[in-house]
């Protein structure tokens, strides 16, 4: 029996017993416990196995630096692997399991790795597993992979919700210990908008685990009182259970709040975790300091922990780490722990002090061994004794817990996340926060101040300065009096010589001191190389305990100062953050907004099947009773449009209203074809290029009056085209007077296509739309018989007589209904984008399947559109480069399967008959393919080298992905009505 619950004391609620399980065993703790304190109170010393050697490990710390006590909490889809027991708040019903062991924690087969450890030194895998070659893939790697990792992720759908929130403040205080609370109080009283974030579930930091008193009361009382006052201030936000994980440009901080991680039955109204994006004018880093472990032989035995952790377990959780506790220290902290434990009735076996002398006061009757070191520890899965060496003599001292303290390092992680390196301080024997300007300043222990009074006044002073900087009337808050202040000092001790067994530097990754020696011998002495070669500091704790000792050891071996060795790079995240929290709400169906057409309801009524088109849901086809496949529906829709008439929702096309005296000139420079003299009341097909001469987008441009144009874009490129126009108008040609705005959402737009389109539409439209009155490419504002103001265009993407009618979005459904009603005698049908695609394919009209960003107008057979007489247009100059005009470019052609039963698929490549597949022999590719119900066989559009010269030639359509090679004939890309007789009817 080692760890046990003290009979009194601690900031736990002994009236609230909480039941939980560890590896199936039922255990009990109290409200206010962490899982770690509850485990220790139940004498569960062994909590995990290390990564590489599977060594038995116990709790080392009481915070996020914990390398050993990693457990899996929860079950099923609510499983959280690799959770640090030291920061997991205990709740009733919590289930925890140990990790990285098989078959059980106490008996773990993987521990055989420890025996093999001479062969498994740092970087061993780079030197082996290479013979014979094929064994790596088949034997070695699968073996290594099985050994990988710690906890097990379930990869099931997470039932819980997450969210993000923005916050803005004058002052962010990171950490609610003595300096943080004092700073917040000062700033809060001065009226600043203050946010205090602390990772703990109870605010107070070290105030909750010190035996010191403030103004005659326990420090925790001061903490509670301060928190209460801060809570009462409307300008102060207190965020407990909130870890600030990152510091980003412009003093923006990322923080994660564990909203419901500590409850057994989460409320469906609340999220599990919330990520805060905090924009702070100023911030104080009140993150405290981290106690350093000592690197000595056997320092990983369960029962060895940080001295400060022992104090915290005792003071805050009312738990003793052992019956007989020894301490190994290079500073005053070990003595302080001894005094605390002794006062609570715990036996102190000895204080082993690495220093020759000090003024530190041991409790009465406690033996102090100076100039001494621990060279080994005894016991297997729990500590039974320590081997103390002094002046060449060894002594075995029995104990069941050992507290170690190698001094302190300020926690400066956040301040070093934006490129600045921490600065070695000879005075502090530690790396201190770099000066990163006024936005973020360290305060208190994070600033290297290790006395309580010093922390309180540093917090008050820094906050007062910030308040004054920001123009607030700072009332300097009275700093409370700390009674019987204890001094704090230590000597840096990176490595304890004479180790009789492995002396671990990084507990979780099993990096021991000799690994660092090996790294240095093999040329990996640079701190980054040593880290990467040995994996020191790369575990889930990111080296919070190990990095400083590794730096010190490397410095010692290289004979230089730690300043010269330097640290590895600090990067987000300070502690690991769940992907779910960072993702927030934008996941699953809500990963991106869904845009719905004003005719969505109409399409639903007509039985549409929908398909994603960027953010839009578009109607794809409209199956009717008896139709078993999508092809049947699409074929029917196509044939009906060709024979009768159909209605298709084209509302998703981008629509832009362009105004101004220079609108014509502006558009003339945007399109490669002429626009300047487009008559009022007319529409024109237009092609925009990128500045490098390739096709950017196609669409129509219409002119309603001299200074009002209307531009449409493809659905996919609506956003990019708008941005491109804004770029041209604002950045390139600000001298042109042109203004434009999107009207995409204002209009419901429908294509009415087919030989009977006019007959149907004429019933709706007020006014003459005969070919004479409203010829091909007319574009006008009109009024419907119902009184609805509308726009009518005579344009066609099907090759049929066709109109596009735009009505205000809210009227869209009613008008579409009317058209369907009017069209019923003419056998009108609704058709979707699939039929639209077949219709345009039959006509050789192009989409972004063809305009893939590597196609010139000439490639697409639209070379005649380039108006080289124009002085300038976007893409003109570079469109004439050799590579864009070479005769062997791939040109748009049609393909007809020679064997009418065979189909073709977009993405197939083209080969000359009789040639073998090879990149050199590749002649082109199929951009679009489909079945033409009009022609009764497969057709395709393709890009073929010098294709327009090759009509009539047979090529092989190579589709190895489905093991198919068929022969097709090259032809003109217009398969249906090449004379456009129907279009102009």
């Amino acid at each position: 029996m080692s760890g046990y619950r003290l009979s009194s004391g601690g900031l736990i609620d002994r009236s609230k017993t909480l039941s939980f399980t560890f590896d199936g065993s039922p255990l009990r703790g109290f409200a206010g416990d962490t899982l770690a304190s509850a485990l220790l109170a139940n004498d569960q010393l062994l909590v995990g196995r290390s990564f590489k050697y599977h060594r038995p490990r116990g709790i080392v710390s009481t915070g996020p630096s914990e390398p050993n006590a990693l457990v899996t909490i929860g079950s099923g889809a609510r499983t959280d692997a690799n959770t640090k027991a030291t920061v997991a708040e205990l709740y009733g019903g919590l289930t925890a399991r140990s990790q990285n062991r098989w078959p059980s924690l106490a008996f773990d087969i993987g521990a055989v790795n420890g025996v093999l450890s001479p062969f498994l030194g740092a970087g061993f895998y780079y030197k082996t597993f290479m013979w014979p070659k094929q064994f790596w893939e088949r034997i070695y790697e699968p073996f290594i992979r099985r050994a990988a990792g710690l906890g097990r992720a379930v990869l099931e759908r997470d039932p819980e919700a997450y969210e993000k929130s923005w916050a803005f403040c004058d002052l962010l205080v990171v950490g609610a210990g003595p300096s943080g609370l004092m700073a917040a109080l000062t700033a809060g009283r001065a009226g600043l908008r203050v946010i205090v974030a602390d990772e703990d579930f109870r605010l107070g930091g070290s105030l909750l685990s010190t035996s010191e008193t403030i103004d005659g009361a326990p420090a925790s009382v001061f903490a509670d009182r301060t928190v209460a006052e801060l809570q009462s201030l409307p300008n102060v936000t207190l965020l407990s259970r909130t870890t600030v994980f990152g510091w980003y440009d412009d003093n923006v901080f990322g923080a994660v709040e564990r909203v419901q991680k500590h409850v057994a039955e989460p409320s469906s109204k609340l999220v599990s975790e919330r990520v805060w994006r905090i924009v702070a004018k100023r911030a104080l880093l009140a993150t405290g300091a981290e106690e350093r472990p000592l690197v000595f032989g056997g320092n990983d035995r369960p029962g060895v922990m940080m001295a400060g952790a022992m104090t915290t377990f005792a003071e805050r959780y009312g738990v003793a780490a052992g019956k007989t506790v020894a301490l190994f220290t290079s500073g005053s902290a070990g003595y302080r722990t001894a005094r605390t434990l002794s006062a609570k009735g715990v036996a102190i076996a000895a204080i082993v002090d690495a220093r020759a002398e000090s003024g530190d006061q041991a409790p009465d009757g406690v033996r102090v061994i100076r100039s001494a070191s621990i060279v080994d520890t005894k016991g297997r899965q729990r500590l039974k004794g320590i081997v103390v060496e002094r002046s060449g003599f060894e002594e075995l001292i029995a104990c069941d817990a050992l507290g170690m303290s190698g001094g302190w390092s300020p926690v400066v992680h956040l301040a070093c996340q934006r490129g600045a390196k921490p600065v070695w301080s000879e005075a502090l024997k530690a790396f201190a926060a770099p000066d990163v300007g006024g936005g973020l300043r360290p305060v208190g222990a994070a600033n290297g101040i290790y006395t309580l009074a010093g922390c309180l006044s540093d917090g008050a002073e820094k906050a007062a300065t910030i308040a004054a900087d920001l123009g607030f009337n700072a009332v300097s808050a009275a700093v409370p009096v700390v009674d019987a202040e204890e001094a704090s000092s230590f000597t840096a001790l990176w490595y304890v010589p004479g180790a009789k067994s492995k002396a671990f530097v990084d507990f979780q990754n099993d990096v021991h001191a000799k690994d660092l020696g090996l790294a240095l011998r093999e040329g990996f002495g640079h701190v980054e190389h040593a880290k990467r070669y040995t994996t020191n500091g790369m575990a889930t704790d990111q080296g919070k305990l190990s990095n400083i000792n590794a730096v010190g050891i490397l410095a010692g071996m290289r004979g230089v100062s730690p300043a010269e060795v330097g640290t590895t790079t600090f990067r987000p995240f300070y502690t690991p953050v769940s992907l779910g929290a960072l993702a927030g709400t934008a996941r699953d169906e809500h990963a991106a907004p869904a845009r719905k057409s004003p005719l969505h309801g109409w399409a639903m009524k007509n039985g549409a099947t929908f398909v994603e088109a960027g953010l839009w849901h578009r109607s794809a086809w409209f199956p009717r009773a008896g139709e078993k496949t999508w092809r049947e529906s699409v074929d029917r829709e196509v044939l009906n449009v060709r024979a009768n008439v159909g209605l298709c929702d084209v509302s998703t096309l981008g629509k832009i209203e362009v105004f101004g005296p220079d609108a014509a000139e502006f558009l003339n420079r945007l399109y490669c074809n002429p626009v300047l003299k487009l008559p009022v009341g007319k529409a024109r097909y237009g092609l925009m290029l990128r500045e490098d001469g390739f096709v950017f987008d196609d669409g129509t441009v219409s002119r309603f009056d001299e200074a009002h144009f209307f531009v449409t874009t493809t659905t996919a490129m609506a956003g990019p085209v708008m941005a491109h126009m804004e770029y041209c108008a604002q950045a390139l040609w600000p001298e042109l007077e042109v203004r434009f705005t999107s009207s995409t959402d204002q209009w419901a737009q429908m294509a009415i296509a087919g030989p009977k389109a006019r007959a149907v539409l004429q019933q709706i439209v007020d006014g003459d739309i005969s070919d004479g009155a409203f010829p091909f490419l007319s574009a006008r504002k009109i009024v419907l018989k119902s009184g609805v103001a509308a726009r009518l265009f005579r344009i066609s993407f099907s090759g049929e007589l066709a109109f596009e009618l735009a009505v205000p979005a809210g009227n869209g459904e009613a008008v579409a209904d009317q058209i369907m009603e009017a069209g019923r005698p003419h056998d009108i049908c609704a058709y979707g984008v699939e039929a639209l695609n077949v219709l345009r394919l039959e006509k050789g009209l192009l989409t972004h399947a063809e305009f893939d960003g590597r196609v010139t107008p000439d490639d697409a057979g639209l070379g005649r559109m380039l108006s080289m007489q124009k002085v300038d247009f976007i893409g003109k100059r570079l469109s004439t480069r050799y590579g864009l005009t070479a005769a062997d470019r791939m040109q748009l052609v049609g393909l007809k399967a020679v064997d009418a039963d065979k189909d073709m698929r977009a993405g197939a490549h083209l080969l000359k008959e009789g040639t073998k597949p090879s990149t050199l022999n590749d002649q082109g590719w199929v951009s679009s393919a489909g079945f033409s119900p009009v022609l009764g066989h497969a057709i395709a559009l393709a890009f073929l080298k010098s294709g327009r010269e090759r009509y009539g030639e047979k090529v092989i359509v190579f589709d190895k992905l489905r093991d198919q090679e068929i022969v097709a004939e090259v032809c003109d890309p217009v398969f249906v009505d090449p004379q456009n007789a129907k279009l102009k009817a």
Binding site: V252, A723, E726, Q730, A731, L732, P734, L878
Partner: protein, 92 residues
């Protein structure tokens, strides 16, 4: 920078409201300028480590192109102006 941009029209806004278009240091050449000038304009970048001018489009705000003058090594922003104003200024 990188987290927030102070739009001259809209105030301080988060990065996700913007799209970066790229180098803003050079104007578009005249139609009759040399092939080399045009090639450089379209394809070549100074790409300095240090102060640079870049077009940022305030897509989800005022939809203006802004010229952001900033340091590519430190991400410090020195100025943000409307692209039209910047173009006119360069003109002069």
């Amino acid at each position: 920078m990188a987290s927030l941009i102070t739009c001259p029209h809209c105030g301080v806004r988060p990065k996700e409201e913007f799209a970066v278009r790229g180098d803003a240091s050079r104007g578009r050449p005249e139609p009759m300028d040399s092939d080399e000038t045009w090639h450089d304009y379209v394809y070549v970048r100074v790409n300095p480590r240090g102060r640079t001018f870049e077009h940022w489009h305030h897509v989800a705000g005022c939809r203006r192109f802004l010229v952001v003058e900033r340091d590519t090594a430190t991400h410090e922003v020195y100025s943000v102006v409307d692209a039209a104003e910047f173009a006119r200024r360069v003109e002069r």
